[in-house]
Point group: D2
Chain length 495, copies 4
């Protein structure tokens, strides 16, 4: 029996309050052991999606794919990978799901046999007209076996009647809306696409003369590849034995990359759109120190994502930076909660208080962002129990007030703490002596982007501003039509 | 990591010379714990396909499917099945593959979301115009994610523009050719179909007032259901809360069921098309004794499929029947072949000689059929090494000379022993003192069907006669077009 | 995590009413790939114990052991066995447990480091003074990590102060009582021992000039070895590079092998103490036909163990033998019992009625023995439901009235049907038209042993007679001391 | 089949140059769900041993144990732990092995049935007279089934002829030499022992009024228990329903705890012997800045163990502290090394360079210690490749020159970089612009212990000084006898 995925990975920890991104993508062209290179690349992108992963390779004769629930290091480590997934072309995907339930059928890459040959495709992001397109395709008599965006894109490619695959792919791109980075392989090409506004990231690297595509530069570092450039917003790159061709299938537009990549998602050692994540985060911390100072003894990050901002805050404020909270590197499945003595075990499994730093101190805690606030409540309580005299909390990003539709898994407005409460209320709810958020202007300052241009904002920043960069077709229809569209899917659970 | 199927089941043993059938199907409507009932039914049909199995259920809200490599008893036993696959409608499938590689994506039931709602479908048999249809569908811009017949049928259903699902299903049936039994569930109905000639079997049962469909009656016995009747050739039954409706979507034709079900596939306790498999096999043995007598001491079956014919032979010939070969009930994965002492371990893993019966005796071995002959060579050698004075061999079916295209996995003509050699040659090759086959007329006699009518043969019997009951479109095109069609599939290997 | 055994094997099916033997043993000396040869040998002995299995090998430098819950074909098949268990000496064990709970720590072979070097030991059988010895050893300050007989024997060997290992082994043998066959390897020798009465079987074979020990001859056939002779009762064989030495460590006694090996345990193709199991069973059936005739239409075995006796019965009585009950070869773990339609699923999982043979017939069912009767009740009911006009039942062995203490797992007297009820009562309880048992004299006749000598019975037959061949020390003490001894073990459950 | 451990955990990564400690121990008395509490405690001690783990519980009637290769979070998470391991007493163990190969038989806790009842025992540390004792016990006729220290201790307890278990335990303690912390449960008591010098740590906590024993305070924090006190050097605590009794079975001695716990092993949030690990490490960094200053731009820790010292260094030197190296939290099994592009993948799997911090900078790297130097070479190269202008390296502990015999896995002197090379040579070998080590006096200063007293050193510090705190009997004998003792073990490999 193929084990049911439920045995092999943990559903989302209810205490885990972090926003989630759905994916990392990776692709290589014309390298030996392409699947092994891809596995390493995906391992470096694991932070972008821990729920499932997949690799598709082409070996000159046929396509090979494996898709698994769980970590890359469990699914694609071990000795026989290049036998199982042979070939010199490969793409890979690591995923947390937004659209599509948590089932193996929705794991990417998705594959289809077309009359032009096979194609495997993976994407990071979310289509804002997914339901509309899917409903249309189904009405035309097309069948769906998953609830994934990628299957919609494959159908659109197949539906186009133009003779060349690239033209069909462009036809498909012109129908989809939203934020996405795509990678695909055919029997001849590696293709990469970034959405018209460049909401989701995608970079081009070079591995000893061979092209590589990846969501972040840290994947290039892992495999020893050189960073070449970001794929531009609205750019489609076609890589084959003749070289790299750059196409612009969309009308010209100004870039508007997702600012949340800087706040939380990307790894600190990555460089996204030309900016070091680590440096941006430190500047967020610096600016936070200027905007929301406090009389404290010590600056303590909520590890690990709060570390750079806390360093920036401490440096700017001239305060000592200390690891007052220690992260446990061994994370297991959910333990049984013993009846005795187990208070707040959830947070303690991951974080523990360093009493030597906290006891008797006025502590400034720095976190990257506040979503529901449930995690913050527990961390603050833990720090108080460890003897802190005062606990102050700062969010290195502005109040999150609006949900995302471009691939970030966030709660509804009703569950976003800052959408429902004032800063004063939040301080009271979280039981902190003072609470502060970075301003939107402060965030733009940290990006070194000048002031925010309200007419043409430089970044996708609706989480803080409510200013969505594209129309939201499915949502508009759903609101108009009383959610008819939603009911069209027969939610499928498949092991 | 979801284990790769390769860890979980054994590829076909090269010593295993038996023909293979691709599938068993099962369906229940409106019973509590439908998936548990289906699991039991599939367990009883395990002999029809040991490579993979799947169940799809509908619980009033959505569809649930699980598909696994390996045995029903490994995949669907255990405690939480009805939680994993809830609902009162279910279909199931157990499979050995003909069309479609051995990959989990090809495991049935297949599911699709249509605009009329979801549908899950499973089939036993083979479409003789599969490649032609698939090529046509792909040319229309439809995408395929498996190489299974079932996906073609789902596409045909989806393509039909008629408003009612049943009408679309009928449209699809009118396009497919070959031998098949289908079961499907929608959110309202259980549907069963048997091909126009009734090549593959399908029976209707009754479980405490609720309809059941199954490939063989032994599945009804397992779940405690009553046999109602065979689904007729060319009949489509639509089961819903209003009862059972019988449709005839095809032009009228005479039935021509597969005679190999009687020779080998069906379980001896099943009744197929009104005839007990066990009794037919015994009559084959009786007739064999009349047609090919020999001066022997003892009649010994090659277990287990040769047992009824050997009993018939012994009774007719007035000779003692003895279990001269013992079957080992514990079958494991492939063992390492030790360098020392290991002659013919392959056959000995499954069969062992009972020296007390064989030593010094003139032995008549009865097997159900001879395919490649590789297994017979080994069994004969084992019996001789156990001290038999003479070894005679009889096949309880006529010489197999032609391959099948309706769901039975047989080698090409070049590898069918009786297609290449005379009976005398076969005796020499297998090293037996005499060799005999049942005649085609003898087989019809055993079926109590009267003499074979060459103009309208009562059974599908091309394995012995070369007389195929339908046109073979894919094959004709492949021969005409130099196998272009075959190359259209990108063979996909997916865990 | 090492999987908990509970995931990997099924606890005894409560419907399974058969007696169980605890073990098969196997050993080879000086052959290439000794562990692979041993795995094959154990596979042939799987019928003697399906709960767990183990192999120990010695590669010239050190010992290697693996012990697993479950089947040989799951534990020791696959590619790397000779790497995991290298060497030219090996012993193996397959087990159903009597003494010692079902835990991996009790799985054999057991190993110990002595001052003379390492020793690995496995046994089939049961020590009747196990608790007494264990208590004594513990009182001397020795520690136990299992509840297995083998650990007691290892302690006794270690405790002996004689310089040579063989002498220490003999010291140990002189302390133990009961019925057993032992195999052991040291860094120089393969050792085999059969208890003073030869209760448990052990044979010597020859694999291309190299000695082999096995519980039954079927293991020799599997590996292609030649049968040499039975190890005699009370014989110890020491096999090393100087050849095979035979010792007699016990006072002279007459052999008294277990007659239940012939009735049920041994495989029909095995030859035990010079007699073919199959032929003995057929003679039991013949004699049964003489002793308990009936006016019936057909003789039907309860498969598979009833087949030879049914053949003998039918031949003697001149009645047709038919496979009226079909055994299902696919046995899974316990399925969920659906609420609907599931009557007697337990027995139907394994056996199904062949209505064509049974309907309207007066049926003579032949089983090898009746223990609790629970299985018989279900089989009889199934046969009646299939339409039998009359159902008669015969046991090919005498009424079982006494429990065993030599390695056979049987219920207490209170649960032995024939210990509590007359034949007439049994017929009523099982709902048969007539009931019959073979007589003890008939059983001896089938053994061709002459009449039973009450002073010196030729066989161990206390199950039928209450005449135990040895004293039962633990039992006597337990009865005397109010079961104090039992309480001394801290029953340990270990994954 | 129980999976072979090799599938479930990774052998030591050859690039991993860190010293390893063998164990963490944990015990609770009289709490509900004792095994669940123990699992949480072990999870917090996972850093002390990642190779295997085990729990033994006593439920009033019997003992239950499970021992697994791999992480606590894999072995003991999930739903049925308290069913598998019921009871209110439990001890647990997490392990990296020094004595005893990496086999499941050596995993602790070890269990034995004594005449006083069962006992389960686990230890952290190493006996320096293990081989001598084992040889003596074997010569007395005792048998060994593992190569673990714990089994020797159990034998010594069993061998004592005193009537009370506690007295026998004390007899055993008086025979063993070395550094150790022991926990044990009997059917009445929880026992803890710390070696005469207190080399290995052990603390007493209180969980809602019930005693807890643990290697480090972080395990108390995890379960919500209150720290009570350190178990003292040479103290034995007997915990039963009458309370906690403290015994002193050894001659009086001055404490001499292992200083390496502070340098590397203990978690930064633990308090060992009254001192915060984090604060000691920060003081090591401060002192290092005083002793070995350099003209650099930025202080960068080798994460995670170098972080506190790097903070101390940066604070003392007035230099910016930056996370110039990022640790990857997802660690998988060994990946296939692709032929292309894969330079130094080993180190990159765990650490990646943060170019924004390193490029063009004079970088001061702070590591906790240097063992072989292999890891340092790779980290320095990675930092240089990321564009650092200069790379300086500091070890926050003195040069390691002598191996350990008290439970720390370190290479021989030949493989200790600082035992073979001068500081200048080391700088050249590691390719750093300057190299510095903390002095032994500096380390004592960081411990706030005053100057090292050469007559009676306050700590076990032989790694740096060669001054071993006890005699090393096995080693002396081995050197004298040409390693005869070593050859006595038949190394056993058991799955």
């Amino acid at each position: 029996m193929v084990k049911t995925p439920a045995d092999r990975w943990s559903p989302r920890d209810p205490d885990d309050d972090a926003p989630r991104l759905e994916c990392g993508v990776f692709g290589v062209f014309d390298v030996e052991d392409a699947s092994a290179v891809t596995a390493l690349g995906l391992h470096a992108l694991q932070h972008r999606g821990q729920e499932a992963c997949g690799i598709a390779s082409f070996d000159g004769n046929g396509f090979h794919t494996e898709r698994h629930m769980g970590y890359v290091g469990d699914a694609f480590a071990g000795g026989d990978l290049t036998t199982r997934l042979p070939g010199a072309f490969a793409i890979g995907h690591t995923r947390y799901s937004t659209a599509g339930g948590s089932v193996i059928r929705n794991v990417q890459p998705m594959f289809a046999d077309l009359d032009t040959g096979g194609i495997a495709l993976a994407h990071n992001g979310n289509l804002t007209n997914f339901l509309t397109l899917r409903q249309q395709l189904v009405a035309e008599g097309r069948i769906f076996q998953s609830t994934s965006d990628s299957e919609v894109i494959l159908h659109l490619i197949a539906r186009s009647r133009r003779p060349r695959l690239v033209d069909r792919f462009i036809d498909a791109l012109r129908e989809i809306e939203g934020g996405y980075a795509l990678v695909a392989i055919t029997n001849k090409k590696l293709i990469g696409v970034r959405d018209p506004l460049g909401i989701r990231p995608l970079v081009l690297g070079d591995l000893d003369g061979h092209p590589v595509l990846a969501s972040e530069t840290c994947a290039l570092d892992m495999i020893g590849a050189r960073f070449v450039r970001d794929i531009e917003h609205g750019e489609m790159v076609i890589i084959d034995h003749d070289g790299i061709q750059s196409l612009r299938p969309f009308p010209a537009a100004r870039a508007r990359p997702c600012i949340f990549e800087y706040v939380y998602f990307a790894r600190p050692d990555s460089v996204v759109n030309g900016k070091s994540i680590y440096e941006v985060r430190k500047r967020m911390g610096r600016r936070l120190a200027m905007e929301t100072p406090a009389n404290v003894d010590v600056v303590v990050p909520v590890p690990d994502s709060g570390v750079p901002a806390a360093l920036g805050f401490a440096q700017e404020a001239g305060l000592p930076f200390e690891m007052g909270i220690i992260r446990n590197h061994y994370v297991g499945r959910t333990f049984i909660q013993p009846t005795q003595g187990a208070r707040e075990t959830g947070v303690r499994m991951k974080l523990s208080p360093n009493r030597a730093v906290l006891a008797g101190k006025k502590v400034m805690l720095i976190d990257d962002s506040i979503v529901r606030g449930t995690n913050s409540i527990r961390v603050v309580r833990m720090v108080r129990e460890a003897g802190a005299a005062e606990v102050h909390l700062r969010s290195a990003s502005p109040p999150i007030q609006w949900p995302d539709f471009y691939g970030i898994d966030m709660p509804d407005r009703e569950n976003l703490l800052a959408a429902q409460h004032s800063v004063e209320d939040i301080a009271r709810i979280l039981n902190v002596d003072s609470m502060g958020f970075l301003s939107v202007d402060g965030l733009y300052w940290a990006m070194e982007a000048g002031a925010r241009d309200p007419a043409n904002p430089q970044f996708t920043d609706h989480y803080f501003t409510g200013d969505y960069p594209t129309r939201l077709l499915d949502r508009e229809i759903a609101e108009g039509r009383n959610a008819v569209a939603e009911r069209q899917l027969s939610f499928l659970v498949d092991a």
